[in-house]
């Protein structure tokens, strides 16, 4: 398995080196939206004398910079490609290979993140200077962040695959993923840090999977939650990961049985 992965990794790295501009572009996608909402919250905080709840302007900056990093590290985009693979029958050759198609996607996903992380860090340093970010991160937070962001990446990847496999039954994956993305827009911590979601929205966000992908690891990296709270939140991540793991196995098995390639 390790040898297979190494071979796939090399092949993907070579492929990725052919699309350097694409790498920069996708990197910018994970920066643009956090910066937009950062600017808005800074304006709101300034209108209220510089402080909203426990966040001041510099805390918002730190939060959204962490969010941007996390959204790059947890990105998954299979839902968008899978529909085409099913519709055009391109999945068939992949199903014939001895390796489960998900492994190709895993490697592709890892390589994309590896190539983006360096240019992204440069942009984020620049943004944190512009907005004068203040991080409350301690070494304990960094130690907790590493497993937390890995859980988040796995959760985002697996939930993306569960969404993608709906392509076996319907060709409207685009609509499904739009609704999913919009729920994430509200509940993942993009429009506001989870702690600032008003009233019941905050409780709902903690019950749904979205926040565990973006908001939770970002808050841990910023040092916005105590280590014991962080552990509790990571338990939430693990539970959702387990749920999606089971769901993926069920859905995939049922879906492949349903699938009939073009010409079959």
């Amino acid at each position: 398995m390790i040898r297979t992965y190494r071979a796939l990794l090399v092949a993907q790295l070579q492929a990725a080196s052919q699309y350097r501009v694409q790498v920069l572009l996708w990197m910018l996608f994970s920066v643009i939206r956090p910066v937009i909402f950062l600017a808005a919250w800074v304006a709101v905080a300034n209108a209220q004398g510089g402080q909203i709840g426990t966040y001041d302007v510099r805390d918002f900056a730190a939060y959204y910079i962490c969010l941007s990093l996390v959204s790059c590290l947890t990105a998954s985009w299979n839902a968008y490609e899978f529909e085409y693979e099913v519709r055009f029958g391109r999945l068939s050759p992949k199903l014939l290979r001895p390796l489960h198609p998900i492994h190709y996607a895993v490697v592709e996903n890892l390589v994309a993140k590896l190539t983006q992380i360096v240019p992204l860090s440069i942009v984020l340093v620049f943004i944190s200077i512009t907005f004068d970010a203040r991080f409350r991160t301690t070494p304990a937070h960094v130690l907790l962040f590493v497993p937390s962001v890995m859980l988040a990446a796995a959760l985002s990847f697996l939930s993306g695959w569960v969404l993608a496999t709906t392509a076996f039954w319907t060709t409207r994956v685009h609509s499904v993923s739009t609704f999913w993305d919009r729920a994430a827009f509200i509940f993942a911590g993009q429009i506001a840090p989870l702690a600032l979601l008003p009233g019941p929205l905050q409780a709902i966000s903690l019950a749904l999977p979205f926040g565990y992908v973006l908001g939770v690891p970002a808050e841990i990296l910023r040092g916005g939650v105590s280590p014991s709270t962080a552990l509790l939140l990571m338990a939430g991540q693990a539970i959702w990961l387990a749920i999606f793991f089971v769901a993926f196995q069920r859905v995939w098995r049922a879906g492949v049985r349903q699938y009939s390639g073009v010409g079959a």
């Binding site: 501009v21 694409q22 572009l25 910018l28 996608f29 643009i32 939206r33 910066v35 937009i36 909402f37 600017a39 808005a40 919250w41 800074v42 304006a43 709101v44 300034n46 209108a47 209220q48 909203i52 512009t130 907005f131 409207r172 609509s175 739009t178 609704f179 919009r182 827009f185 509200i186 429009i191 506001a192 600032l196 979601l197 008003p198 929205l201």
Partner: protein, 261 residues
């Protein structure tokens, strides 16, 4: 001129007929748009649960701005994006020849040929959000009522001109979809007034990618912050942008070498 209007109507009808072939898709696209708009309004409401003004914009003005954002973005996705996508593909495949052979302005035929009719729903929802925002603003004078459509149309022209200029690079570099994708993603920044952004970003959003201008100025006009000089500047600016972009496009067209030329 009337000939071109007739052509436009023809193009539009053909596209509408095409889309109505896929009714479920059509309906789903409208539902998606409604969900996107509703969640965006939700985001603004969450921000305003902590404040009453954002950089001098109160909730009413902010909703007007968000409505303008969806009007402009909806216009882009309804009238521009489909044609420009096809245009890039045609340059790559060499099938642009077919458009060049027809007896009408090539730029017109290429850039206003396709429509995504379902996206009219996005513009309609934008108009609804503008109306809701306006209901919170005490009174609208005659000047504002006249200035608003002018500013909005200038915004459309500005967006169109920039897309024409960007897509022209396809004549030399062929693959410019990345550039276009970048442009559409910058569009997202228009949902807030351009003055909330820090210096370098504001500069980008008002000059290089004038989405900030195209959305913010119409909203300013209707929300009663009419600045006659600013409006005049927008009218002149978008006219100049249109002329420059068109001549750049014609220059680029000269470098186009069909499929097997």
């Amino acid at each position: 001129m009337t000939r071109y209007l007739r052509l436009l109507r023809l193009f539009f009808r053909a596209e509408l007929q095409y889309e109505l072939e896929y009714r479920l898709n059509f309906v789903l696209e409208i539902v998606e748009t409604a969900v996107v708009t509703a969640t965006s309004v939700g985001a603004v409401l969450i921000l305003f649960s902590y404040t009453t003004v954002l950089n001098g914009w109160d909730l009413g003005a902010m909703l007007v701005l968000l409505g303008c954002f969806y009007l402009v973005q909806g216009f882009g996705e309804f009238a521009l994006q489909p044609s420009f996508e096809k245009f890039l593909e045609n340059v790559r495949l060499g099938t642009l020849d077919f458009a060049l052979l027809k007896p009408a302005s090539p730029q017109f035929q290429v850039t206003l040929r396709y429509f995504r009719v379902a996206q009219l729903a996005q513009m309609a929802l934008g108009a609804v959000v503008v109306a809701v925002g306006l209901s919170r603003i005490p009174a609208i004078g005659l000047a504002e009522a006249i200035g608003f459509p002018i500013a909005l149309i200038c915004g459309f022209v500005l967006i169109y001109a920039l897309l024409v200029a960007l897509s022209t690079f396809a004549f030399w570099f062929v693959r410019v979809d990345n550039l276009m994708a970048l442009y559409w993603s910058f569009m997202d920044a228009g949902r807030f007034p351009v003055d909330v952004y820090p210096g370098w970003l504001r500069l980008t959003l008002s000059s290089a990618v004038p989405i900030g201008i195209a959305v913010t100025v119409p909203a300013q006009v209707i929300a009663g912050r009419l600045d006659p000089f600013g409006l005049l500047l927008l009218v002149v600016g978008s006219a100049v942008a249109f002329v420059l972009a068109s001549s750049f496009w014609r220059l680029g067209l000269r470098s186009y070498t069909g499929a097997s030329a």
